[in-house]
């Protein structure tokens, strides 16, 4: 993993994307990982019975994907301070979920180098299904 530095980052620049595509198996893994066993994520008949078109991806899993996007981007010497998202649209298994982030602001304070970002997941139509924000620190070259 190459380390990104505070000086490398420009406001408005996009960070490396993370592409996900959930199998139904991954949704079951997430149920075990998170402890959320709501059936709309693994029982198609149950999901349809609640009026959904089929199985849907957990909102919290998309949130965790954004956590991975940021963790992988900040490298070993960055710290993740704040991240999260709203759940605005559904995503489905076997469809791409593109995790993206854009630098909104960078500043230094008290010897730390902060970067604020807009982050989101995007469905194949380009709709932001989980828009959110993040705050990280990056190491400085100086």
């Amino acid at each position: 993993m190459t380390q990104v530095y505070f000086e490398d980052v420009a406001e408005g620049a996009e960070i490396a994307q993370l592409k996900k595509n959930c199998s139904t198996q991954q949704l079951v893994l997430w149920a075990a990982g998170s402890g959320d066993f709501y059936q709309i994520h693994y029982d198609k008949d149950f999901a349809k019975g609640t009026g959904l078109p089929g199985l849907i991806v957990h909102g919290a899993l998309k949130n965790a994907f954004l956590g991975q996007l940021l963790h992988d981007w900040i490298g070993e010497r960055g710290t993740l301070r704040k991240f999260g998202c709203a759940y605005r649209g559904m995503d489905y298994p076997a469809q791409d979920i593109l995790c993206r982030g854009v630098v909104k602001k960078k500043y230094s304070d008290g010897g730390k180098h902060f970067v604020e970002l807009d982050v989101w997941t995007e469905n194949p139509e380009g709709k932001k299904t989980s828009p959110g924000t993040a705050l990280v620190t990056l190491p400085s070259k100086s």
């Binding site: 919290a60 956590g67 991975q68 992988d72 710290t79 759940y87």
Partner: protein, 167 residues
């Protein structure tokens, strides 16, 4: 446009800022790995104790968004604190949506710490406020909840901000 009557009762206003009973969350090797595996993390600090220690951590690191597993008691219906709780009030809306979740971490010593396997975290949830709005779903009640996570050394290691939408 008609102004909908407020559904925020005095009982609800009185509940703002009141902490619920604390819940205990356990962070262990097995649940950190399971969470990391289910997200698809590739960084070894979430799986391999030796790799985590080589990078200066006390143990396997809890992946972003993982704040431990609540101690499960059969019959108690215990779930993760903060996400969707607080439905105890009589609200004239039947539908419920998880509007979003934000996590804040406090990784800096000496006041904060990074959450690692072996930690026992106490989670305390309170309602931070209510809002009412009208959108495409009709009138809705938005409940903002805040959960504070304190580790076994008394350090605040994370906060979770949850938004619950009832409509």
């Amino acid at each position: 446009m008609t102004t909908a009557e407020s559904v925020i009762s005095d009982e609800m206003r009185a509940a703002i800022g009141v902490e619920h009973a604390a819940g205990v969350m356990e962070i262990e090797n097995t649940n950190c790995r399971m969470f990391a595996r289910s997200v698809g993390h590739t960084d070894a600090i979430f799986y391999d104790e030796a790799a985590a220690k080589a990078r200066g951590y006390r143990g396997i690191v809890a992946p972003p968004g993982f704040l431990g597993t609540p101690i499960f008691k059969p019959g108690s219906g215990a779930g993760a604190p903060g996400e969707t709780g607080g439905r105890g009030f009589a609200v004239p809306y039947k539908r419920i949506l998880n509007g979003g979740t934000d996590y804040e971490y406090f990784p800096d010593a000496p006041d904060g710490d990074v959450i690692c396997a072996g930690d026992t975290i106490t989670a305390r949830t309170k309602i931070a406020g209510f809002e009412e709005a009208s959108g495409s779903l009709g009138p809705m009640l938005i409940t903002r909840r805040e959960t504070t996570y304190t580790n076994q050394h008394g350090k605040v290691v994370a906060k979770m901000y949850g938004t619950l939408i009832q409509y």
